[in-house]
């Protein structure tokens, strides 16, 4: 992943190509010709994405195959760096093109407005991947009056500060622990492995959720409502629900532009499972050019398929055992199970290689060592007692905020705006102070970049 002004050319190409293709598609009466334009748009955009993101990966795999066949490997003529945000703006532009093709939105005539839609800075580098119907419409209708209000300023500010809290106080702090655990995969026992996996689940949520909150808050202050990207995902009671709450802009993108065009669920069971697996494999690959991401996607696909197959059995079991499904314990069980399953999959997402992931899983199940909690050697993984205490307190705040969100349906910004002024101010001040004091930043700290910047 890299910042380089030269890479602005790529976003310019993507913008101009999709802008023109959309105009041509809209004008074109013949479906066949319109399709040709669409293919052209796809080839250019996906071509750029493939070249910068997947060329090295493809070549490395090709060379592996060649070496098995004892054929000389192919040298990589390029020294490629992944341009920041490329997966996000490419998908956003492609989504717009498809929407125009489907007649779900009109082609934008004003290139500047369209360019603003593709490159809208708060969400440019890591989403949310906006839909033309939502953001482009707002750009169209935007007026001075609609842009600014105290409510927007206040709730946007709260979201930004809470996003920073999630990123700087929680994600960057827990990353010190998680990185140390994953660096020592060969030495760790079950407890460290569990703690590392749970830590990474927290890290990736706070890292990406934090970025999304900052982006949404910044856009809100400027008068734009971006789509929600996270809705308390770890309070999901099933994997399917998890995907309705996690990285919502991407999962709905895949649902609308991959899963449904493949046939969705309105087909035979076998085809539905095929569609699910394809969607999740592509989603895994979208996250990165590595087999670990593909396996991560595959695991989620398998979860969904198995869950669907086992659904009647589950229902019969519940009935036979007279399990009460409306009580807290049952909901808690489902939430906990879903968390364990998603967390297990995160191991592949975080591991540097498939081998490392399996080594980690082996440690998880074979080296039961509860004493590390009591002899406090767990505190030797980058976070001492005090830092762990700060982390746990911050996570507790996050859990409270997530519960409020779950109960009221309001995000932190909206919820705080509905509270009394003094309370609101006190929370703002505490959050700002917490970020300033307990945030991981500054001299001698190499702030972890947002994980999703790399995708």
């Amino acid at each position: 992943m890299c910042w380089n002004a030269k890479y602005a050319v790529l976003i310019a190409i993507s913008t101009v190509v999709t802008y023109l293709v959309a105009l041509l598609v809209e004008k074109q009466q013949q479906k066949k010709k319109a399709k040709l334009y669409m293919v052209f748009g796809f080839v250019i955009n996906l071509g750029i994405l493939f070249f910068f993101k997947y060329f090295n990966f493809t070549l490395a795999n090709l060379n592996k195959i060649l070496s098995i066949m004892h054929i000389r490997s192919v040298n990589n003529p390029f020294s490629l760096l992944l341009p920041v945000g490329i997966s996000f703006y490419t998908f956003q532009a492609l989504g717009y093109m498809i929407d125009v093709y489907r007649g779900e939105c009109k082609a934008e005539r004003n290139l500047l407005k369209y360019a603003l839609f593709v490159s809208f800075f708060p969400q440019l580098v890591a989403g949310p991947i906006e839909r033309s119907k939502n953001l482009l419409g707002q750009i169209e209708k935007s007026t001075k009056e609609s842009r600014f209000s105290l409510e927007r300023l206040s709730s946007g500010f709260a979201m930004m500060v809470f996003g920073m809290f999630m990123k700087m106080v929680i994600a960057d702090r827990v990353s010190l622990f998680v990185d140390r655990i994953f660096l020592n995969t060969i030495f760790i026992g079950s407890i460290e492995a569990i703690a590392g996996a749970v830590g990474f689940a927290v890290q990736i949520y706070c890292d990406f959720g934090g970025y999304s909150a900052i982006a949404i808050g910044a856009a809100r202050i400027m008068g734009f409502d971006l789509m929600e990207n996270f809705n308390t995902p770890y309070l999901s009671a099933s994997i399917a629900e998890f995907w309705r709450r996690w990285h919502i802009s991407l999962s709905t993108w895949f649902k609308d532009y991959v899963y449904i065009p493949l046939g969705g669920s309105r087909c035979s069971k076998l085809k539905k499972y095929r569609n699910l697996m394809i969607t999740f494999l592509v989603s895994g690959l979208w996250h990165g050019a590595s087999w670990t991401y593909v396996i991560w996607g595959a695991i989620h696909g398998i979860y969904q398929v198995v869950s669907d197959i086992c659904k009647p059995l589950k229902e019969r079991l519940v009935k036979a055992l007279k399990i009460r499904t409306e009580v807290f314990s049952f909901k808690f069980f489902k939430i906990a199970t879903t968390f364990i399953l998603t967390d297990f999959a995160w191991i592949f997402f975080r591991a540097g290689s498939i081998g490392e992931a399996f080594g980690y899983i082996k440690a998880l199940f074979t080296r039961w060592n509860p004493w590390v909690i009591f002899d406090e050697s767990i505190f030797s993984y980058g976070l001492d007692r005090r830092e762990m205490g700060i982390l746990l307190a911050a996570v507790l705040i996050l859990i409270i905020v997530d519960f409020i969100r779950n109960k009221t349906g309001k995000n932190i910004g909206e919820w705080l705006w509905s509270q009394n002024l003094l309370f609101r101010w006190a929370i703002y001040i505490v959050l700002v102070a917490a970020v300033l004091v307990y945030g991981e930043y500054g001299i001698d700290f190499n702030s972890a970049q947002f994980i999703y910047f790399a995708f």
Partner: protein
């Protein structure tokens, strides 16, 4: 319109409250010289009322170890100030002086030229001491902008990126200002002695080295400052052992200053005249100790009185900080003895010289058979029969008062030494824990006679000994 104004007012009020809150957080976290016992020359400067300082000494540790404003005050009532910070580089000297000149009008500024002899500070904490202890102002911005590592400038400006991790080490002194920062005049008193050796060949070396354009520019800027603000600028080399290459540079500066009408004195070549003894007057090769500093300061005192006719302010109430500074220096000297001696009489003799203090004296021994400590204690006014009965006394303001007899179940005595320090005295048996408790901490030494001295000036225990 009314609603709009109300909302603007609300937003402004929020910004104000937020700023106050962040300022409170900043005050606790801000850079403090934790390896220098929280002493900050900048805070000392900021707490000094306007237009009191007559003489300023600038420089690095050589300056605050080598020149004692308390000596000038005690002898001649001269109000001087050591504007000195460890590793003070040229830019810091210039900007620190500018900061001082905002509130003070000194007639003489003496600058130790050690800053001209080193190119880059190798101690990271010295950069913090020099660059982020100044209050935020245009001068501090210019100062930070001159910092050599351009990548760090924005962190220095914002300060929080550097200081925020101090939450791990916060203690009482971070929330309450450490008293010497209110009255200290910049010096630090060290009583350690190390014999050092000066190479006469180096001292007498007349080889003239080279100085850079930056050095020349700095000298010219300092000269202009002296003209603009109307003070006399003197450069000097405070006695310290330097290698040959530095001596050559000193010669070059000396030559440049001579040509350009800037006074420059190399005190390394005047050790005999100063009365400095290399066996007894140094902490280490680079720094004078308290004994050497007194000699050197007294020499400068003569020069100031003779050449500049600096007036004394001994009886002027506005200069109370110099009085307190003198008390502090006396305290440090006596504390040095109290914490090291193995002789109770020597301890008591030093203790009674410490102004503004409470000392708790506990006689645990069966004193009817052992009078060995009575000679030490009778200096305080203790009666021999009282001594023989044993018990616990308090010594304060030159008066000794018995507060607890050596009887189990004797009435407990509680004294609030300060806002946060409470002392509880009782008797639970000879050598028993709990007889003297300070802030829940047991102060039983297990010795026959013990002393606990609390200084009101510093707000802390300065000696806790048993004999």
């Amino acid at each position: 319109m009314k609603k709009k104004l109300l909302r603007i007012g609300q937003a402004l009020a929020f910004i104000l409250v937020l700023t106050i809150a962040i300022h409170g957080v900043y005050n606790a976290l801000k850079w403090k010289d934790t390896s220098g016992d929280y002493i900050s020359v900048m805070e000392q400067l900021y707490s000094t009322p306007k237009n009191l300082v007559d003489v300023v000494f600038m420089g690095s540790s050589h300056c605050y170890c080598g020149i004692y404003p308390s000596v000038l005050w005690e002898d001649a009532g001269i109000a001087s100030f050591d504007m000195s910070v460890s590793g003070q580089d040229l830019s810091s000297t210039y900007h620190d002086l500018k900061e001082l000149l905002k509130t003070q009008k000194p007639s003489v500024v003496m600058v130790d030229c050690y800053g001209l002899l080193f190119d880059v500070s190798e101690v990271e904490s010295n950069d913090y001491r020099n660059y982020i202890s100044m209050d935020f102002s245009l001068n501090s911005i210019e100062h930070i902008n001159s910092y050599r590592d351009k990548d760090k400038i924005k962190d220095f400006m914002a300060r929080f990126p550097i200081i925020h991790t101090r939450y791990k080490e916060l203690r009482r002194k971070d929330f309450e200002s450490y008293s010497p920062n209110q009255f200290g005049r910049g010096e630090r008193a060290y009583f350690v002695t190390e014999e050092v050796s000066f190479d006469q060949n180096v001292i007498n070396d007349e080889t003239v080295g080279s100085i850079t354009k930056e050095h020349e520019m700095w000298l010219e800027k300092m000269k202009k400052l002296s003209q603009d603000y109307g003070f006399t600028l003197e450069l000097m080399l405070i006695p310290n052992v330097i290698p040959k290459d530095m001596q050559e540079r000193v010669n070059a500066f000396s030559q440049y200053c001579q040509k350009n009408g800037i006074a420059f004195t190399n005190y390394n070549s005047m050790l005999k005249e100063l009365g400095i003894d290399s066996k007894t007057d140094f902490i280490d090769p680079a720094h004078l100790n308290a004994y050497g500093a007194r000699k050197f300061t007294r020499f400068l005192e003569g020069k100031l009185l003779e050449e500049y006719n600096i007036e004394g302010h001994a009886d002027d109430e506005r200069y109370y900080q110099w009085d307190m500074d003198l008390q502090w220096c006396q305290l440090l000297e006596n504390q040095y003895v109290m914490t090291r001696t193995n002789d109770a009489s020597e301890f008591v003799n030093a203790m009674i010289k410490v102004p503004n203090q409470y000392t708790i004296i506990s006689v645990e021994i069966d004193a009817t058979h052992d009078v060995s400590y009575y000679d030490a204690l009778k200096v305080l006014g203790m009666e021999s029969d009282d001594y023989e009965r044993g018990g616990i006394w308090i010594y304060h303001d030159g008066e000794l008062k018995k507060i607890c007899e050596k009887q189990v179940g004797a009435e407990e005595y509680v004294i609030n030494l300060s806002k946060y320090d409470t002392l509880k005295i009782g008797y639970y048996g000879p050598y028993e824990p709990g007889n003297i408790i300070l802030n829940r901490k047991d102060c039983q030494t297990g010795f026959d006679v013990s002393f606990l001295t609390y200084s009101n000036l510093l707000g802390e225990i300065i000696a806790h000994r048993g004999f």
